[in-house]
Assembly symmetry: C2
Homo-oligomer: 376 residues x 2
């Protein structure tokens, strides 16, 4: 029988680790990339196609789902897994980030955030308690604590104040999660470290989270415009502040080279809209870097997107065909580009896992990054 939540580390290589998170709905091989399924769908992919790419877990967005079709409706229809047809683990964010970036007429207080829906202007509230309730209604496997997204850049004082509030909300999230006893028996709760770019605040945040106690820990407040160098600067110390025997999750990251650098620094889980969104926009990730398939130079190119890719798209269709589909605005273009990109990310993670298991992450990462260019 699968445990509620168990993290087995099979091997380490420097700060990097590989292993498996075991949950009721299935195993999650780490380091893991979670495709983003914002509105109860990984855009342009069927669940079986997501699974075939090697994904063990997907991410859903609390903010989007609470507004449409609503958490209550999903609950009455049997939960998010049944609703969308994905029977493996789902992680949902808390809604905290998107309520700040997408909603209108926000009013922040110690209690939470009051806001108007970006869809229809209807009034809603998100708080630690309400976020826990929504994620419970969805039937989420990995629940994220509700926190405040510290703006970037932030002064030390601003970052400290925001982090302190997030830590109070982390405790309220823990209590809210635990009050849903039935769900808490099958789901896990992750806390989120804040502290902006300040090492002392990151340490305080980590200590407070550890005192509360979570199944896993996210490094929050990164990928907010600080750039890769600054992000890696934080990742040089932040993961080590979190319990070594718990999964570490870097939210909203990132480009393939971001992921490689973060895995080297001890991160176990990632999510990002980049492979899906870029795919819909005509960008393909390849071992030689991203390609923009809108470029006319591909119109007669009979080769695959990436000759070293094992995905069904590269096995069947040419760059010329994908260029044609994208230029013609065909839905199949978005479907195939997304499928390839999700496979590329999953193959990236599988390669990193093997390299860690075999103690050759340094050379593997150098080889990958040496070949991978930032894009055309």
């Amino acid at each position: 029988m699968q445990p509620r939540f168990e993290f087995d580390i099979h091997a380490t290589d420097g700060a990097a680790r590989t292993g498996v998170i075991r949950m009721k709905r299935g195993d999650i091989r780490t380091p893991a990339f979670m495709p983003v399924g914002t509105a109860a769908t990984v855009k342009a992919m069927r669940p079986a196609e997501v699974r075939a790419s090697g994904a063990d877990i997907i991410l859903g967005n609390t903010y989007h789902l609470m507004l449409r079709p609503t958490a209550e409706r999903i609950a009455s229809l049997g939960g998010l897994h049944k609703f969308m047809g994905w029977d493996r683990p789902i992680l949902t964010d808390s809604g905290g980030y998107q309520v700040m970036s997408l909603s209108e007429l926000r009013k922040m207080s110690e209690q939470g955030v009051q806001f108007a829906s970006h869809l229809d202007g209807s009034r809603h509230m998100l708080s630690p308690e309400r976020s826990m309730e929504i994620q419970r209604l969805l039937g989420t496997d990995i629940v994220m604590a509700f926190d405040e997204c510290t703006p970037h850049p932030a002064t030390h004082e601003e970052a400290a104040s925001s982090m302190e509030r997030s830590m109070r909300w982390a405790k309220r999230s823990r209590d809210g999660f635990d009050s849903g006893a039935e769900h808490a028996e099958v789901a896990a709760l992750f806390g989120i470290q804040q502290g902006s770019m300040y090492e002392d605040l990151r340490r305080v945040s980590a200590e407070k989270l550890i005192e509360i106690g979570f199944d896993g820990y996210a490094v929050g407040g990164l990928a907010v415009g600080e750039g890769q160098a600054a992000m890696f600067g934080v990742l040089d110390y932040a993961p080590a502040m979190l319990p070594a025997d718990r999964p570490r999750y870097l939210m909203g990251v990132g480009k393939p080279d971001d992921i490689v650098g973060a895995v080297v620094r001890g991160i176990d889980m990632f999510d990002c809209v980049l492979p899906t969104r870029s795919g819909r926009n005509g960008q393909a990730f390849t071992h030689a870097g991203p390609l923009n398939l809108r470029n006319a130079k591909y119109k007669d190119d009979s080769g695959p997107l990436d000759p070293d890719c094992a995905c069904p798209v590269c096995g069947q269709w040419s760059r010329a065909y994908l260029h044609h589909l994208i230029k013609a605005g065909e839905i199949l273009g978005a479907m195939l580009m997304t499928e390839h990109n999700i496979w590329f990310y999953q193959q990236l993670m599988a390669g990193l896992r093997s390299a860690i298991a075999e103690g050759r992450l340094t050379s593997h990462a150098a080889a990958f990054l040496g070949r991978y260019k930032g894009g055309e």
Copy 2:
């Protein structure tokens, strides 16, 4: 070994027939519905998904493909089958219909049609010879003769004049097709009967086509706004004017009830954008008639689109989920609605084939039409 083109009729029931067209790239069970793959893709479906629905053949549009990516480019990339990843038969239209409905600055003459592309204004020409050349470059299995689409309504004089020109073009199409000896050894050529709503002109047209000689015959110039009653009026006599041992193809038809009525009247092949286009617009075909999934009444409906449908969509997802996807503008909504609709059409054809084979088409058609309503 598969023959170039052979039509075996296995059973008849009244005017209706069921059988199989055998071609180099595979068998086509008749009556057959051909999903439309306008721009080298059946919109929102992968070829394997189209095939899984039961489709034996798809249709491509000469007009669209000659403009983008161009027939020459497709030929240099190995032909349409390889380009799009569909290895079974493809029928292409001649471009005659769409050059009249979509292009700009048309100039008609006995030679053909000069026109400007609706995409970029570039100048092109379509004639019987050029249409045959394009369909040869594409590597089409069933080539359609280039004809003039008679406007509706047309006077007897207008219809006669237009039909006579189409018959001269049919002969030039035959000659053009035969001049491509290598392609003519593996492909088939269909003539198109014209004559608008006039029985005497339909008879003249049929006689002229038979004199030229074709592998199959289309009833053209219908589904142009005349309505179902007028269309059935023509189909009460027109199919019988065409050789009984050759397939009869009703171009651009139609709604499920149109297809049932046309099969009863002796038609063997159909194509229509309705299942794909309607799917993208949120309309699902079901045994109880079309449903508009945008309707708010489906937001809590946990049932499948059609409880009597064997498609993968009805086996997995609820009306509530599809309603959500469509309201949210999700690509997966277009994908799943299209897949269901194409399956619905293929199941419709399979049901008609079985009924004809078992001599119960009359009761089968009555039962289907009795349950099927025009839509909400």
